[in-house]
Symmetry: C2
């Protein structure tokens, strides 16, 4: 997998190759290394300068940095990469994730809203996140001040995913350092940018598409007109996801954004039960087969081994579940399990369950 | 017209003849007196007892009482009877009205809500009614405490219609006496029940259908679940009218009714502009030709004379407008105007306008 990852990362980090171009290159050339090799010719034939492709050294340095942080990579169309996110035309080709990867298998709901929301709205968001967690939903938000923080706090026990605009190791706003570290341990933090990236204004809409794209639906709690939360809601609607909004009195100016969303067709919601009801029809999509955007035959033995290793932990898990979660063929998973077994790293349990031998 | 009215009233006030039966009788027999004459035979053929038809004396006494109160009659399908209300299957065959009849020619919007609404909601309703009045809409409500009273107050300058559950001369709740009297002078009060009727619980749903039926749309401001306001909203929806609701925070229990209405498909509105926008498509219906439920050839010369007289006042009005408002043919109106002219009671003005000579 490492070679494949280096190639992917070189593509992703090369100037001029955005997520859509990346997807088109892979669709055309089949594999990242073939795409990399083709880029200079393509650019020449198009009459442009040959783009300065990111060097192998740079990519390897970033991969080493991610490993040192204890973070992992998720590649579009492979393994645990979020199924719904993969449906976006501009889905991130690579994600850097740190925390509990099993959260990626839950149906997710985004909760977003104003950074300067009222105390009442923050309390509402926290309660809503808690209740949604009790309903087996993973709560996704942006680790920002206000509603985002309240949503993460409410769902900390049951599972919450923070998508950051900068690097996975950068705390923004700084006072959220403790919250983000809690998510490393008990939740999950996702970043698209390289480690160490300080978030800039232009990063936030990209971050927002990941939030909206991962989730079956986005709940907006108290958002100002023309705010980032409304952008997230628009992205969710464009992706065919549910947009849900918490209403407020017309006498409360902070309710304007949500009330307008409802006028524009968002579902008014008042509690977790109404959110769950709205998202139920999408439940099956989350656990469906991986989307066919990227051909899966490209998952070679190393890929499968890596994915299976990521899925395993000290607690026994059914092999069937590993196969389903991995997105790889049953044969490839069985081969990877055999390799781990021969290496003395796998333990087999009753009921066709397996676990990793603790180090 | 008086004979016709006596017959209508005898039918309407007879036990067992509700609005739907009334409409079917008129559709079958053409005129109220033919319907009255047919009722005993019909009942006999149906195998029932002959119903105790209301006596001519009783009807004449009620008519005298209404006249003494300075109130008027409106008959379904005739003259100024509200066009939209006439569309209801169970439209009241007769209405007793006191006040400014010209308000019946305006597009109407109902504002309803809780009797024990919050001060903020009452202030909102008053402001909304004021702004809707500025947009040339007549504001209809139920002269109850809370939201109703606030709506009437807000639209007092521009035109407001109070529909009461009891008699046109009965003040309920008692503290609304001054408000109701203000509507006699500067607005309009509508009743379906005979003068002197104290409102009972069963009267309120009938009252609510008139409010919903007259209006192009019903705005609900702060209503409890299972409240009368929600019944009015349901009646409005069933009549194909707009249902509009003012949202509130899920943390505010008084907002539950409106939020649920919005979830059920009502339009969320935050201000008068949004109400006006929602009702604009129905504007033309208000000023359209009378509904064809009741054959208009039954408006004889006396009817037309009476209607034209009601439409005239000391200020000059275009004859075209009299024709349009009367629902009678141009010929019948011209004949009525000639009769008034010959009687020395009509004044003709430039621009084909007419007025009544002041007594």
């Amino acid at each position: 997998m490492i070679e494949d990852l280096v190639d992917r990362l070189r593509l992703v980090r090369s100037p001029g190759i955005g997520p859509v171009t990346y997807r088109q290159l892979i669709a055309r050339f089949g594999t990242p290394d073939a795409a990399l090799a083709a880029v200079p010719d393509l650019a020449r034939r198009g009459g442009g300068k040959v783009p300065a492709l990111r060097s192998r050294d740079d990519a390897e340095r970033e991969i080493a940095k991610v490993e040192k942080l204890g973070a992992k990579w998720l590649a579009l169309g492979q393994g645990l990469y979020p199924r719904l996110l993969a449906e976006l035309e501009d889905a991130p080709p690579l994600l850097i994730v740190k925390g509990d990867l099993k959260l990626l298998d839950k149906q997710a709901v985004a909760i977003v809203g104003a950074r300067n929301a009222s105390a009442a709205a923050c309390r509402f968001a926290r309660g809503l996140a808690h209740d949604l967690g009790q309903n087996d939903l993973a709560v996704v938000s942006g680790l920002a001040r206000g509603i985002d923080s309240a949503a993460h706090d409410g769902a900390l026990e049951t599972g919450t995913v923070g998508v950051v605009a900068g690097g996975v190791d950068v705390f923004y706003p700084p006072e959220n350092e403790r919250r983000q570290k809690a998510l490393y341990e008990r939740g999950l933090v996702i970043a698209e940018m390289p480690p160490g990236t300080e978030p800039r204004a232009r990063h936030f809409p990209y971050r927002n598409r990941i939030i909206a794209g991962m989730a079956s639906g986005t709940v907006v709690v108290e958002a100002a007109p023309r705010s980032g939360s409304l952008i997230t809601a628009r992205l969710a609607a464009e992706a065919g996801r549910e947009v849900l909004a918490v209403p407020g009195s017309p006498l409360d100016p902070r309710a304007q954004g949500c009330n307008q969303l409802i006028r524009d067709g968002a579902t008014l919601i008042q509690d977790a039960a109404e959110v769950v009801e709205a998202l139920r029809p999408m439940q099956s999509l989350v656990r469906s087969e991986p989307t066919p955007y990227e051909p899966f035959e490209h998952m070679n033995g190393d890929d499968a081994l890596n994915v299976v290793e990521e899925l395993l932990g000290p607690s026994p898990v059914p092999v069937d579940e590993i196969i389903r979660l991995s997105g790889a063929s049953a044969g490839a998973v069985q081969m990877a399990l055999l390799e781990l077994d021969l290496a003395g790293r796998l333990e087999r349990h009753a009921g066709n369950k397996v676990s990793l031998v603790s180090a």
